[in-house]
Symmetry: C2
Subunit: 204 residues, 2 copies
DNA sequence: AAATATAATAAACAGTGTTTAGTAAAAAAG
DNA sequence: CTTTTTTACTAAACACTGTTTATTATATTT
């Protein structure tokens, strides 16, 4: 029964077609403006067809969410070659910030939006996200082992580093830093100083 | 022409009626589930009437947004009595975190959601928000003047402190810290340790 | 009392996510 | 090879959303 396998393959192809279209539209117009109907129009199928391949809109964006984490995780692991764990931590932090600034819509889906989280709760698998987080955690643990940073619980430090980075970029992408009434290039310089200040403060 | 004044008073009353209803519904069900129609139903007017008093849904939530900042600002200024500026900074940070945890929907509107910002851009007045931010900025400046914390540009430090606090609470309220797979009470302890670690690290 | 201005609304518009019922085409069974 | 069954798809509808328009009833002014 090779037919069953072909059908399964065709099913995956269709899922990929939907995801690819959704991703492209999402990165162009954002989540809210990417409706099931616009995706359907783009792939030249009826809106109802999409529901034969995905439970709901959130499931589609959960897949995109996972893909985005895989991209970030890959960028993190490019720093494997850096021997000194604190230098690696610095590189990872800067990569995190750069990723957010370069891909604000992905960042939204990954760390700000409530939407695709409904999927996670049920399945309890945050795969790519956990992977990226563990990379940071391991790097922090290595820093602590090598006495490169002030002694503190590694989870506390992980929360601290992540919170700092996330706070910085999410205030920026959601335009809250505009209270400071600063030209954008000056703001970006300030943000970089802020990252450096935070990281240097961790040193023993 | 006392009629004109009465009319203006009635207009304000109606605006308040709408805002009060919207606020109550918003704090109970969140932004998305608070529709113009549910507000209209609650105040026993037709949906179209609301548009005679507010340009759009965002304008309503911009008023709530301002009120929320006024509440936060008031809570900040309760710490005026604290003489030592660094102690004051610590108190302000803890108040910020507590405010977010106690009022996640307000916090959403103030610091996370994109919705009510459309209003701000046009009018360029962030009144209550600027006020609260300046309180933090002044406290930080006082810390620096008194040589209580490591020397650094006050704006850089303000961004750092705010980013850290915002990152921490927004990752929590948007359930991203769940990757750590920790019981909630443990998470809250970790978060408090994280705040303490961050603030103590600022000391000279 | 008549003319005008104001306040409120019913109904519609254009959009959303999602479901249901019905139709062709493909696969399996006789 | 024909008949039955399963699969893939879609048109249309449902229940919402924010917002606008045309109309009516009320209040104010002339």
């Amino acid at each position: 029964m090779a037919i069953k396998e072909r059908k399964e393959r065709e099913r995956q192809d269709m899922r990929n077609l939907i995801i690819d279209s959704a991703t492209q539209l999402f990165l162009k117009q954002g989540y809210d403006k990417t409706s099931i109907r616009t995706i359907a129009e783009d792939i030249e199928y009826s809106p109802a067809t999409i529901y034969l391949y995905f439970k709901d809109k959130d499931e589609i964006f959960y897949v995109i969410h996972e893909n985005a984490f895989a991209i970030l995780d890959k960028q993190f692991r490019k720093h494997d070659a850096i021997e000194n764990p604190f230098d690696r931590l610095i590189a990872v932090c800067k990569t995190y910030v750069k990723f957010a600034m370069d891909n604000p819509d992905y960042y939204d889906l990954m760390f700000i939006m409530r939407a695709p989280l409904s999927q996670i709760k049920s399945e309890e698998k945050w795969d790519a996200g956990e992977c990226a987080f563990e990379y940071v955690l391991d790097t922090i643990a290595a820093c602590l082992d090598a006495n490169l940073i002030k002694p503190v619980d590694k989870y506390v430090l992980a929360i601290s580093v992540w919170s700092f980075g996330h706070g910085l970029v999410s205030l920026y992408v959601r335009e809250r830093l505009s209270v400071m009434e600063m030209p954008d290039d000056m703001m970006l310089t300030m943000m970089e100083s802020s990252v450096n200040f935070f990281l240097e403060n961790l040193r023993v």
